[in-house]
């Protein structure tokens, strides 16, 4: 189970490590687009953009559909919940630590004020 989640996360973060691919996701979040439109937008060749879209599609972030001669891209069903949950664990450790630190800081402040 842990292995499975880890390898999926590996794949997701690898996909998202590229600025163009993150840009494409943002773009598709606003509206669907054809590969040609995306290539123009990101100043890339059609072949280059096809590769990026292929990677996103493979990871489930994007789906494509061919209508006539145009391939339209839209956001996939898979959102970033797992990725967010993974980071959330780490945040909670720091949050609980820092909540305890709040108490220490309050004490130190009070002592400082008492000494003034």
């Amino acid at each position: 189970m842990v292995q499975y989640v880890t390898s999926r996360l590996d794949a997701s973060f690898a996909v998202l490590s590229d600025a163009t691919r993150r840009g494409v996701l943002e773009q598709l979040g606003r509206s669907d687009a054809s590969i040609t439109e995306l290539a123009d937008k990101f100043h890339m060749t059609l072949t280059g953009m096809k590769k990026h879209v292929g990677v996103l599609e493979h990871a489930g972030f994007v789906t494509t559909q061919k209508v006539g001669r145009v391939r339209t891209c839209k956001l996939g069903l898979r959102r970033l919940e797992e990725e967010a949950a993974w980071i959330e664990h780490y945040r909670q450790l720091w949050a609980s630590r820092f909540d305890a630190l709040d108490g220490v800081i309050e004490d130190l402040k009070r002592k400082e004020e008492a000494n003034d």
């Binding site: 973060f13 980071i87 664990h89 720091w94 820092f98 909540d99 305890a100 220490v104 800081i105």
Partner: protein
């Protein structure tokens, strides 16, 4: 009212945690550099694993050693060296308990009597960061049960 803690994975190797504290940087810095204060917060009680000992020689090249555990047999240690010590604004230290451990940079910025704290961890490899976080995820459910118990105690 506690301030929100944010965490971001900045790259394959880096994590950044930020948090604001309601006190000046010199006080927040003190809490990170005096062992008797560090002991009060570094191991959240909710973790159920107390900090058994805390030795810190806070100067460039000085070492630190934090031992966690309920008894000697089950204890484990984190240790390393301070690379930069600039009171009250910056601390950098290594973690040397494993080859895959991070270098940690903490900065303290004064903001009208409050302190913006930024903690940055750089891991040697992407795998090391993944593993550090996966380890965290495994322990968390138990830690939060203990936190629940603690909160219930405090509420009495």
């Amino acid at each position: 009212m506690t301030n929100p803690t944010t965490i971001e994975r900045k790259s394959d190797h880096e994590l950044v945690v930020t948090r604001t504290f309601n006190g000046p940087a010199r006080i927040v810095f003190e809490a990170w550099t005096k062992p008797e204060l560090m002991k009060l917060w570094w191991a959240p009680k909710s973790s159920g694993v107390p900090l058994r000992s805390c030795e810190m020689d806070v100067r460039v090249g000085g070492g630190y050693r934090l031992e966690f555990g309920k008894d000697a047999a089950s204890s484990f240690a984190f240790f390393g060296q301070y690379l930069e010590v600039e009171p009250p604004s910056r601390l950098v230290w290594t973690n040397e308990e494993s080859q895959d451990a991070a270098v940690t940079t903490v900065t303290f910025e004064d903001r009208d009597g409050q302190t913006l704290l930024t903690l940055h961890e750089r891991y040697p490899t992407k795998e090391a960061l993944d593993e550090a976080m996966a380890g965290m995820a495994d322990g968390m459910p138990e830690q939060f049960e203990q936190l629940d118990a603690l909160l219930a105690d405090l509420g009495k």
